[in-house]
Symmetry: C3
Subunit: 116 residues, 3 copies
């Protein structure tokens, strides 16, 4: 079975599609001057855009791993998440706190989704 890659970079690609499943690179905010809600909203917008390019959308997410830098940002992350996640199509999710290569980064999200 073929693999389709999109936004192929030298280090990573943003999207790989194989056998009806879409894998996204960990999505981060480019504007790291924002607080957790702002960074989370930017990340979720990246996910919307990439899923659309992959022929999927946020109602078709199969798995979501959320990494945050500060456990005190959990509620702020959830506020942005709950605005965004579609009722009746919420995905399996796990959230843990880690350290990021860029200390201004507050959130990174990994998504696996079904293509349509």
């Amino acid at each position: 079975m073929n693999i389709t890659r999109l936004h192929i970079g030298d280090t990573l690609s943003e999207i790989a599609i194989h056998n009806g499943t879409v894998y996204l690179a960990g999505q981060i905010a480019e504007d790291t001057t924002h607080n957790i809600q702002g960074q989370a909203r930017e990340v979720l917008a990246h996910i919307d855009r990439l899923l659309a390019e992959a022929g999927s959308d946020k109602t078709r997410i199969l798995s979501c791993q959320i990494f945050i830098a500060d456990i005190n940002d959990f509620d702020g992350m959830n506020a942005a998440w709950n605005e965004w996640v579609p009722e009746g199509h919420t995905p399996p999710r796990a959230t843990v706190a880690v350290r990021f290569p860029d200390p201004k980064r507050l959130i990174e999200i990994i998504v696996v989704a079904a293509s349509s």
Copy 2:
């Protein structure tokens, strides 16, 4: 291909099934008064129950990510794991230590499995 979701909540669903693969939300212990072995046993019992609802079981796990709060709990986690994991059907696994939103939480496990 259709997606089946089970235990659909406002923020996340516990189970998504697509194309023969079962994705579980990160499983945590509800009783956080227990030590690592107690919390790990509760988490593994949640996984058994959810996999059964998804038409799978612990002999059909494809990938397992274990997050623990304290690296000194690695041996206690493994003790509970080794009691539980079925001989001849052990899955690929990775274990790292992170911080959790609830500081009393000692373990979270993410499972991907094959439906039967």
Copy 3:
């Protein structure tokens, strides 16, 4: 659908294959006297060997999670990665810093790939 497991141990298996997808256990360096570049090169060599056994290779990676112990090792990890990753076939990737059960361990990588 059948599951094929390879290198089946008492605690985990190194490889599970199901429905055209290959799941590897988190790969670590056995020689923890090496620095980040040395450990990363050993880990990437393990991945090459395991993917070959699974009928896959590094041009067919769908998802890669990299865990490092020290965010200051990000550039060293990337140096080893960029030597190794095949042009035009770079996978989706995410890198975060965590703690490992063995404090001399500097890196662990989880790979999901397509079988051929």
